[in-house]
């Protein structure tokens, strides 16, 4: 079992000039079981991106440990794939070369690589786009490439940092369905950071609402909507009265947090 476990995770940033310390995260504890879909929501400054970066291994926590299965995380690794808001594609490479980047880096057999790339391009709905320069793609297509690039490496966990934040509403909805499909088909553990309450509700089997100062998990939900989304249309789910109820509850919660921050200034 490759569960993702965070134990007593804390992160303190120190301003090098003033020496003032800011507690970005404090005593985060949770376990994400294999195959779980977690969305993380919270007002800006609550440390959700920092949490993701620590799990990805880009920054080291000042205290606490993160482990995937039995291994402690000490840096970036292929078993934790990343998808960024702007895709972070290599614009000098065509789509296929972007997707097989990870395979080329570990010098995988070329034939296998070609087959893998074709398979994943197919799954994300980009068959035939292999030779297209990435800068000619639309935002949604670029995110599909980013997803394929991440999945081709067969990671245990997929970490998404506001992956759909820059897309228009319609594309966004399609991409949300795609993420759910991929989750079901691959059975990967997925952690999504998002700003959108609706998206967090739709894509979160589990949902953390984080609070700032110090950054912490304020409330956890277990939601049925992701499972439902596999069977029915996302728009119908949004009409659901329970969906609206939780959405309002969370919105109020975050609203109050933002008010508190503003009032504190």
């Amino acid at each position: 079992m490759t569960d993702l476990t965070c134990t007593n995770l804390s992160m303190t940033f120190t301003n090098p000039q003033t020496g003032a310390a800011v507690e970005a995260l404090k005593d985060i504890n949770f376990t994400l079981k294999q195959g779980e879909l977690l969305s993380v929501l919270g007002p800006s400054g609550c440390g959700k991106t920092t949490l993701l970066n620590m799990i990805a291994g880009f920054v080291n926590p000042t205290a606490g440990t993160i482990s995937l299965g039995d291994t402690a995380i000490e840096g970036p690794g292929v078993e934790r794939g990343m998808v960024f808001q702007q895709g972070a594609l290599f614009e000098w490479l065509p789509v296929a070369k972007n997707v097989d980047f990870g395979l080329r880096m570990k010098k995988q057999d070329e034939k296998e690589a070609v087959a893998l790339v074709e398979k994943w391009l197919d799954i994300v709905g980009l068959q035939g786009f292999g030779d297209t320069p990435t800068y000619q793609l639309s935002g949604g297509m670029q995110q599909r490439v980013a997803l394929a690039r991440c999945l081709v490496n067969d990671p245990d966990v997929i970490l998404m940092d506001e992956p759909l934040g820059a897309l228009d509403a319609l594309t966004r909805e399609k991409m949300q369905s795609l993420v759910l499909e991929l989750w079901k088909e691959t059975g990967k553990t997925i952690m999504i950071i998002t700003h959108s309450v609706e998206e967090a509700l739709l894509l979160g089997e589990r949902l953390f609402v984080m609070a700032p100062r110090p950054g912490r998990i304020h409330k956890e939900y277990r939601l049925p909507f992701a499972e439902q989304g596999l069977k029915q249309s996302l728009r119908d789910i949004k009409q659901d009265s329970k969906f609206s109820e939780i959405r309002e509850e969370i919105l109020t919660m975050i609203w109050n947090m933002e008010e508190e921050i503003m009032g504190g200034v």
Binding site: P76, W92, F101
Partner: protein, 642 residues
């Protein structure tokens, strides 16, 4: 073919000017029509308003060329090919009578006599005021004052028409009459005058170094030429004329005697060296002014008046006969006209420093001719051609002999019978020294290639060393902080400030210039590669880490391609700066290269050659830039779209 074209420059230019005027007119018409048609297509400020418009390019280029043709006197030469020669003959007359003009209010505002009086009177006044009483005895002082006063009286005597000697009046009147005769000669016209066969054999205007043919080519020119000879002898007579006055003669004799006594007193003066020197200096100053007025160069204006009028009439009659020539001179030969001095007639103003377009082309053709033996190329080197390059020379240059020393085996010695049998190692040494023929490869050659070669080698080295260092500086704290001060300290120094030092150390051969250019290119490449590398988006770096790339792989496959746009822009800038520096470096030292040509051309005031080199450099710089823009477009189509 080239000979014929070269001979017929004026005719070709006449044709070109008409073509240019037509293209200017036509493109202007099209442009104006298009402007009206498209006036409301886009709002003001819309970038689309700048798109297209080839007709304005044609219009601008035609206008610029026409301006060039006009101000270089090419238009004048094209349509009035003999005008310059005729004006040259007029210039001869002006040269002949210039001494008389200078004495009259023709060449300047005042009579020369008036100028002399104003200047000397002022100096006398200041001398009188500054008389050093402590240096001289009372008697000497009064004597000095009397000399000063008498010098004033001499001036007055010469200026008074009543005290003028009738003989000198008569001489002036005679000279005036001579000029009147000459005016009649001029006005009689030039029927029957013919240019000499010798004159007709002269090369055309602009073909040889002496720009304007000197001997008259037209009947009118022959007339002016003759008149100029006669005027010259009259001017000589005028220069010998002296103002005479009995009153002045008496005063001069008296003053001379007084100055003599003062000088004698000085030679016997007792006292310190400075004291004697000061006395001598003052007396000398007084004597100098006396000597300026005692030679009869001051005339009363009334005495000169008849000559003044005659000379004015003479000039007017020359102008009469000149007719339309004056109009051509002022309209088609803009600038300061043509001046005859000693042995040649020269163009003044833009006609001199702005060579005619066809002359520039002719000079360029002469330079571009690869046949050095028949006068092509410059200083024994072609402009741009090819030659056979011995491969052994290349080996000699690149393989140091010491490499052979390090190989196993030993060099041979001579044997007992006094012969030498080379060993394998001896033969290798001969190879390294370039003494074994390896055949030859064709190679570019010439001044332009030499310049290009220096830039290309320096650029190559600059890229080879600068880009890796720049990239490491973009990603590593050590490299950034260690090398930053070094590069930032030497980079702001203008390359030309380094030139004297570098050229002194390395000598005037290629290596000095290449090193100088390398320094220029290196700094630019380091900075651009560094900017490109440090500008890589963090998310791309993080993504590649998550995709399992090692640090070296990230450097090679992410940071380098990401820095490519900056690197290519850096190359584009570096080539431009190198090119500019190179030309200046070649001017400082060297025996080949475009800058060398320009420098030599400068020392001999060969304006055509200077302009040809300027044009060559401009065109080559432009070609470099177009090439780089093309490369940038082809290699980094994603630029600005990431």
């Amino acid at each position: 073919m080239f000979e014929w074209l070269s001979e017929e420059r004026a005719f070709i230019a006449a044709f070109l000017v008409i073509a240019l005027i037509i293209s200017f007119g036509v493109s202007l018409t099209i442009g104006l029509k298009q402007s009206i048609l498209r006036a409301n297509d886009e709002v003001f400020g819309d970038p689309d308003r700048t798109k297209g418009g080839w007709y304005w390019s044609v219009c601008g280029a035609s206008a610029l060329l026409l301006i060039w043709f006009y101000f270089s006197w090419e238009v004048g030469r094209a349509y009035f090919p003999k005008a310059a020669n005729e004006i040259c003959q007029v210039a001869k007359i002006e040269e002949s009578i210039s001494p008389i003009n200078a004495a009259m209010p023709i060449g300047s505002r005042y009579y020369k006599s008036t100028d002399l009086i104003i200047r000397n009177t002022a100096q006398l006044d200041s001398l009188e005021a500054a008389l050093p009483v402590d240096l001289f005895s009372a008697q000497e002082a009064s004597q000095l004052l009397s000399v000063i006063n008498q010098t004033r009286q001499i001036i007055a005597a010469f200026s008074n028409p009543d005290s003028q000697d009738p003989q000198s009046q008569k001489a002036i009147a005679n000279l005036a009459a001579e000029f009147d005769f000459l005016s009649e000669d001029v006005l009689a016209g030039y029927d029957g005058y013919e240019p000499t066969p010798e004159a007709l054999l002269q090369p055309k205007w602009g073909i040889t170094e002496v720009e304007i043919p000197l001997l008259p080519l037209t009947p009118r020119g022959v007339l002016f030429d003759n008149i100029s000879l006669k005027a010259k002898s009259l001017a000589d007579t005028f220069l010998k004329l002296r103002s005479k006055s009995a009153e002045a003669d008496r005063l001069i004799a008296k003053t001379k005697a007084e100055i003599k006594t003062l000088k004698e007193a000085n030679s016997q003066a007792q006292g310190s060296e400075t004291y004697v020197k000061k006395r001598e200096a003052y007396v000398k100053a007084v004597e100098r002014i006396f000597k300026r007025v005692d030679d009869g160069t001051i005339f009363p204006p009334e005495a000169l008046a008849p000559l003044y009028i005659s000379v004015q009439n003479f000039t007017a009659s020359v102008d009469d006969v000149k007719g339309g020539l004056g109009f051509i001179d002022s309209v088609f030969l803009p600038g300061n006209g043509i001046i005859k001095s000693r042995t040649q007639c020269t163009e003044q103003g833009p006609g001199r420093w702005l060579p005619k377009p066809t002359d520039v082309v002719a000079t360029f053709t002469r330079l571009a001719n690869p046949d050095v033996a028949s006068g092509g190329g410059y200083k024994g080197t072609t402009l741009l051609w090819w030659k056979w390059l011995e491969i052994s020379d290349v080996v000699d240059f690149f393989v140091p002999d010491s490499v052979i020393d390090m190989l196993p085996g030993s060099y041979g010695t001579h044997s007992a019978d006094g012969t030498f049998e080379p060993t394998f190692k001896d033969n290798l040494l001969r190879l390294a020294k370039g003494k074994i023929s390896l055949g030859a490869i064709p190679m570019l050659d010439g001044h332009i290639w030499d310049s290009l070669f220096r830039v290309l080698v320096a650029m190559g080295a600059g890229i080879l060393f600068g880009v890796p260092l720049g990239i490491y500086m973009g990603v590593s704290r050590f490299f950034k902080s260690f090398f930053d001060p070094l590069i930032e300290l030497y980079r702001p120094v203008p390359p030309l400030a380094w030139a004297p030092l570098i050229l002194t150390i390395f000598g005037i051969q290629d290596d000095g210039k290449i090193f100088l250019l390398f320094m220029v290119a290196f700094a630019i490449m380091v900075i651009s590669a560094r900017t490109g590398a440090s500008g890589t988006q963090l998310s791309k770096i993080r993504a590649s880490h998550s995709l399992g790339a090692t640090n070296q792989q990230i450097l090679r496959y992410v940071i380098l391609p990401n820095a490519l746009p900056e690197i290519l822009t850096g190359i584009r800038i570096a080539i431009g700066v190198c090119w500019g520096t190179l030309v200046a470096a070649e001017m400082l030292a060297g025996t080949t290269g475009v800058g060398f040509i320009e420098n030599v051309a400068r020392t001999v005031s060969d304006y055509e050659l200077i302009w040809v080199t300027i044009l060559i450099m401009g065109i080559l710089g432009l070609l470099f830039d177009i090439m780089m823009r093309w490369v940038i477009q082809k290699t980094i189509p994603w630029r600005g779209k990431g």
